[in-house]
């Protein structure tokens, strides 16, 4: 087995001064810590590429049906509360800022601030999910969840004469729930990773010689943030004008 952290996890804090994290964490099959952390970060970047392709399938479906059923998609999109979406965008952007600060603190060896910033990141992430849950509940109340009870009563802004096609509106919400649901799942995984980072940094696992997990989980966090940056305009802002 590799230089395991089983031996270090419990007592690392105690002898953190005698041995730096790089010596502790270097795995058997790497020459040095630089090779190991370069390898890990290439792995994470590549994983994010697979994530782009994963979400890409849904963006493709979105694009095609939006082109096919533009008016119905616009009408359905108008029924989503844009304020909550905007608030969530702000929350996620702030969480990305706190995450970036956490990585900076890890680089500088400010262990206590690192924990504080990670806690804030987690807090904003949880707030995002809370708002999302509220939005889902609203959609449930309005019977906008696809299924037998689906009913869309809204119209298209500025076109009172347009009769919205129920089926096509339902398809918008199918894609809405699939995309935001998959994004929320990634946020939940992200929260789990944050919890891991917080526990690990409180136990003194990281120092200036070794903080690869903070960096790589940070990359993941920013990626999930970026996905939302695309989801927000595509789903909430198809058309908000009256013309």
């Amino acid at each position: 087995m590799s230089a395991s952290h089983a031996t270090t996890a419990g007592s690392a804090g105690a002898h953190a001064g005698t041995q730096d994290a790089a010596q502790r964490e270097l795995r058997h099959h790497f020459v040095d810590m630089q090779q190991q952390s370069n390898t890990a970060s290439l792995g994470m970047w590549l994983f994010l590429v697979t994530e782009v392709m994963f979400f890409g399938g849904m963006f493709c479906a979105y694009l095609i049906y939006r082109l096919m059923y533009f008016k119905d998609f616009a009408a359905a999109s108008q029924s989503i509360n844009v304020s909550w979406g905007a608030a969530n965008t702000a929350i996620l952007l702030i969480s990305s800022f706190t995450m970036a600060m956490a990585v900076r603190c890890a680089q500088l060896g400010k262990q206590k601030l690192l924990v504080v910033f990670l806690l804030f990141t987690m807090l904003f992430g949880a707030a995002f999910l809370g708002v999302k849950a509220k939005e889902y509940y609203d959609k449930y109340e309005e019977k906008h969840v696809p299924g037998v009870n689906f009913e869309f009563k809204g119209g298209l802004l500025g076109h009172p004469e347009y009769v919205v096609n129920q089926q096509h509106a339902q398809m918008f919400f199918s894609i809405y729930f699939a995309m935001t649901g998959m994004h929320a799942l990634h946020m939940i995984i992200g929260l789990g990773l944050m919890a891991y980072l917080i526990i690990a940094s409180m136990r003194g696992k990281f120092d200036t010689s070794y903080y690869t997990p903070v960096e790589n989980i940070g990359l993941y966090w920013h990626f999930v943030d970026v996905v939302w940056i695309y989801l927000f305009p595509l789903l909430y802002l198809i058309s908000r004008t009256k013309g």
Partner: protein, 541 residues
């Protein structure tokens, strides 16, 4: 020979640790390769039994052995097991896992624990598929076309889709591990121009795994969501478009064909260089043609949909691009042939498989060009011509390559030689059985026998009998290696470190290698396939 005993055992990866736990929790890429070998072989024989049942039913024109429903489940089970649980993992996860780190002079793959996770994901997915097969199976074919799969087929579609989804992550993690390992873990002196072609091929394969597999993953998620929660995505009754499913499905599933064949092509380059005692002709072209296939492979998917109602202009473009992908494939075949020209060719078992590969892949590839031609494609769509074509590539190509590689590296993996005479015999039986099985299907398809039907007009019977007879011979050709390779584990002649006097880092360590692959860290100061420097040394066997 029967009493051959290992000389005073050196510690190697096989005897370094003992017990079930030391295998199930191993992070050694070589042990994980063996875990894969056992499980992938198991699935190969399950898929094989399904194939045999299909061939038995087709022995007579009437539907007598099974009825239509059962027959649909048989070919679906055969396709799903063989594509997702045999062909895709067979070479990368077994030989690639074992050889990639050793060939580049690394101690292990970049992420050993993720490598083990890949195997567990494969096993979980495999168990789910076996559960599906035992509780009635699915009848969608391996392609899960909507709206049949989301609105009508048996509800087992959901479990099958999730199994393929999970298995996809096994494949993604393997590909990711290979790419990162090849970039970051090469020994000093192992430049890209010195990388063995098997590594180049696995690198190209990994690109496809990483870029393509997530797309089928999300497609299957959407399929399951449509089936379970009635989200309208693909079903026209819900406003969706089934063509979108086909596009997304083939965006992965056509490149997946290259996930299967590219690693076997990599094996070919190793075998042909070794048994011709020559540096591979046009090394750079062969290396880059793998990458070219990986890239072009992403641009041809819609040739599976020529009759599905696409625009004729799109069909023209996809037809053109499909012809184009013949170029890098042909580069490989020509360069292998040129390597043999004026080489000191010998005919050991791996080389026999290599010959088989070249011949069968050439037929499979050229008939692919027939199918790329729009007019002919419309004539033979969904006939046995297509079935014969892709079996020539998948079975004639991939399996021949795998068996050749397995025999070639068997002494390195196990420390024992396989029995050469039986090996040659099995290669011959397999070649004859294969052609007898699938060549008649080209004719059947051309004269109009559609695929996926359990009965057929009596005038097709002669060719179907030939095909079924061939399938039994082919089965024997596969059972042979299973028996004598297992036999050789105990009774085979003890292998030297380099029984073929072959080039490459894997032959510079002991057989079997130690846990960390090399006794001292390798430094590479030689080119790949430097057989001109090795020529004078007499063979050890």
């Amino acid at each position: 020979m029967a009493t051959a005993v290992m000389p005073e055992q050196r510690t190697n990866y096989l005897n370094a640790e003992h017990g079930v736990k030391s295998w199930l929790l191993t992070t050694d890429h070589k042990r994980i390769a063996l875990l894969y070998m056992v499980s992938v072989t198991f699935f190969f024989f399950i898929g094989g039994v399904y194939a045999l049942l299909i061939r038995l039913e087709l022995l007579t024109p009437a539907g007598d052995l099974v009825q239509a429903d059962t027959y649909n489940r048989l070919f679906s089970g055969h396709g799903i097991v063989m594509v997702f649980f045999f062909l895709i993992p067979v070479v990368p996860a077994i030989l690639g896992n074992f050889l990639v780190p050793i060939m580049i002079g690394a101690k292990d793959l970049a992420f050993p624990r993720i490598n083990l996770l890949s195997w567990y994901l494969y096993i979980i997915a495999g168990m789910m598929v076996i559960h599906v097969l035992l509780t009635g199976g699915v009848d969608t074919g391996w392609t899960f076309y909507t709206p049949y799969s989301t609105a009508f087929a048996s509800p087992k579609v959901v479990e099958t889709g999730l199994a393929v989804f999970i298995n996809g992550f096994s494949s993604i993690f393997t590909g990711l591990n290979f790419i990162v390992t090849i970039h970051r873990m090469r020994a000093p002196g192992m430049t890209w121009s010195r990388l063995p072609l098997f590594i180049w091929a696995n690198y190209a394969t990994s690109l496809i795994m990483v870029l393509g597999t997530p797309v089928i993953a999300i497609t299957l998620v959407l399929l399951v969501l449509e089936r379970v929660f009635h989200l309208g995505i693909f079903d026209p009754k819900l406003g969706g478009d089934p063509l979108l499913f086909q596009h997304l499905f083939w965006f992965y599933s056509h490149p997946a064909v290259y996930i299967m064949i590219l690693p076997s092509m990599g094996i070919m380059s190793e075998l042909i260089a070794c048994f011709s005692r020559k540096r591979i002709f046009g090394f750079q072209f062969v290396a880059l043609s793998s990458v070219a296939i990986a890239v072009l492979g992403f641009l041809v998917w819609a040739h599976h949909m020529f009759v599905a109602g696409m625009s004729v202009y799109a069909a023209l473009i996809f037809s053109f691009l499909t012809f184009f992908i013949g170029v890098p494939s042909a580069i490989k075949v020509f360069n292998w042939t040129a390597t043999m020209y004026k080489g000191s060719v010998t005919y050991e078992t791996p080389m026999l498989y290599a010959f088989g590969f070249i011949g069968l892949f050439t037929i499979g590839g050229l008939t692919g060009l027939f199918l790329a031609t729009l007019g002919i494609d419309i004539h033979v769509t969904d006939t046995y011509f297509v079935v014969a074509h892709f079996h020539y590539v998948m079975v004639g190509g991939v399996v021949m390559g795998y068996l050749g590689g397995l025999h070639f590296w068997w002494p390195k993996i196990t420390g024992r030689m396989y029995p050469e005479g039986l090996g040659k015999l099995a290669a011959l039986i397999g070649f004859i059985g294969f052609n007898l099985t699938f060549f008649p299907q080209f004719i059947l398809g051309y004269v109009g026998m559609p695929r996926r039907y359990y009965q057929y007009p009596p005038e097709f019977q002669m060719l179907n009998v030939l095909s079924t007879a061939g399938a039994t011979i082919l089965g024997v050709g596969y059972l042979f290696p299973l028996v004598y390779l297992i036999w050789s584990l105990k009774y085979g002649e003890v292998a030297s470190d380099n029984p073929w006097n072959a080039a490459g880092l894997e032959w510079k360590t002991t057989s079997p290698p130690p846990t960390f692959n090399f006794h001292e860290d390798p430094v590479v100061d030689f080119e790949a396939y430097n057989y001109d420097e090795l020529k004078e040394i007499p063979r050890e066997r």
